[in-house]
């Protein structure tokens, strides 16, 4: 046996592949030439940090690019935002069951260590965030409201503007986790009433891992909890306070910047059609799977706005084993389990084992979707 298999990559929610055309070469080139670490060399040919910042600001419709800090990933960004709020014992934070551990764990850490109270909003009957419960939580006058723009389990995009508008009226600072929407959907902080937007470069932005970003609205000055070398103002005893240096300490990931800048330029030109293709393919995948009797689709609502993520279980198969079989027997790369989002599974009905997740990109083709549907039909037979 050991026949050659068709190989289909459907794990883009963990890290997109392939990358935007030219990204690999850009990273390679940055590593191959003499290092140009910003402010740390006499070689200053390219301002890659500035270029990334400008492109990221452009994608989000942000005027002041200095409000975009370049980080190492979304978890880093979220930690900068959450830990930088200076939350104290008795302060209230409102978040949701859809969150990734990159939000849940920093908040649990603050709850455990500093006595911060965390209120978690569940889902309503339509699998939207429970707005009535959210409004009741706002009566507690939270300092921070953190919402996942799109679930990395179901792909559903939440109407962040509705929740954040209410949160702003209640005086909260609003933080959007856009890990699954940047590059896939429109993420404009003004339109969404988001004071802060955290994201990564290696998912929908089609860049390499090791780079992310955090937008911080003017007027919000996060406490600095990571300080050190900046490449500028070495004369100062304390870390500079002006943005974006305020939130950027240590040598940046220059090769990743080179790759991300190239990916962002590619997305500027092709991003809209690329994202649309992903959505269309995912819709086809959901529809195909919905026709298979022993497949339970999570949060199946054809009308819901989503990114290209499809989660499901197959009766008769443990999720971990189904993922193993999809990978090893059918050549479909997927992810199984809780997907680092442990609290969404009880309301979805997928606790304690989680789901099988297929996540698409615009580089997938219809044949991939057809093959996945046929394979899962075979699994469910």
């Amino acid at each position: 046996m050991g026949q050659d298999l068709r190989s289909v990559f459907m794990n883009n929610a963990a890290g997109s592949w392939p990358k935007a055309p030219g990204v690999v070469e850009a990273v390679n080139s940055a590593l191959s030439r003499r290092p140009e670490h910003p402010g740390r060399t006499s070689l200053q040919k390219d301002d890659l940090a500035g270029r990334c910042r400008e492109l990221l600001a452009g994608i989000m419709g942000v005027e002041d690019k200095t409000r975009v800090a370049i980080t190492f990933n979304a978890t880093h960004s979220l930690n900068i935002a959450i830990m930088g709020m200076g939350l104290q014992r008795g302060d209230v934070v409102v978040t949701t069951v859809t969150e990734h551990n990159s939000v849940l764990r920093p908040l649990a850490h603050l709850a455990e260590r500093q006595g911060v109270e965390v209120i978690e909003i569940g889902l309503d009957d339509n699998n939207l965030l429970d707005f009535a419960a959210f409004c009741r939580a706002l009566e507690r006058r939270p300092k921070l409201v953190a919402i996942n723009h799109a679930s990395n389990v179901t792909g559903r995009i939440q109407d962040a503007a509705r929740y954040f508008a209410a949160a702003k009226k209640a005086g909260a600072v609003t933080l959007l986790d856009a890990s699954q929407t940047m590059g896939h959907a429109r993420v404009n902080p003004d339109e969404l009433f988001a004071d802060m937007v955290a994201f990564t470069g290696h998912k929908g932005l089609l860049g390499p891992p090791g780079i992310g970003g955090l937008y911080v609205r003017p007027g919000i000055e996060l406490e600095q909890w990571m300080v050190g070398g900046t490449g500028v103002r070495s004369d100062l005893t304390l870390h500079p306070e002006d943005m974006p240096t305020r939130l950027e300490a240590g040598t940046p990931n220059v090769p990743a910047m080179a790759g991300l800048a190239l990916a962002l330029e590619w997305l500027q030109e092709k991003g809209h059609d690329f994202a649309r293709k992903e959505m269309d393919l995912a819709r086809g995948l959901r529809e195909g799977l919905s026709q298979i009797g022993r497949v339970n689709l999570m949060d199946y609502d054809p009308a819901a706005e989503r990114v290209g993520i499809v989660s499901f279980t197959v009766e008769g198969w443990e999720v971990e084993e189904a993922g193993y079989v999809l990978q090893e027997s059918f050549g479909i790369v997927c992810r199984t389990g809780l997907h680092c989002a442990p609290h969404i599974h009880a309301p979805l009905g997928s606790a304690p084992d989680g789901t099988i997740r297929l996540s698409l990109s615009g580089f997938n083709v219809e044949r991939d979707v057809e093959y996945a549907v046929q394979s899962i039909k075979g699994l469910a037979a």
Partner: protein
């Protein structure tokens, strides 16, 4: 068929352990079917690369793909070492 290498992959929550076995030959349909004497064997020959899994009364679990040299084994917490020893003896003498 002989064992080329054994690597511990991880410990399970329940105290069991997952090991990855690599054999010196590919696992064939015949060798998969011989595993059936150990417990309940599920074999899916119609998959592009046939999948098999076995669960024994002791709680030993095996899963793999026909045509590969490697497969995964979960040993239960209870009598882990004894079951592992017996399993290794079985696959090297009966396959």
């Amino acid at each position: 068929m002989n064992i080329a290498s054994v690597k511990k992959v991880e410990d399970c929550f329940d105290g069991g352990s997952v090991f990855s076995y690599e054999m010196d030959e590919e696992v064939t349909e015949a060798s998969i079917k011989r595993l059936g004497v150990l417990g309940r064997l599920d074999y899916f020959p119609h998959f592009p690369r046939p999948f098999y899994r076995l669960i024994t009364d002791d709680g030993l679990q095996i899963k793999g793909v026909e045509g590969e040299r490697d497969f995964q084994v979960i040993f239960p917490r209870k009598e882990k070492e004894k079951i592992k020893e017996e399993f290794e003896r079985f696959i090297t003498t009966h396959n």
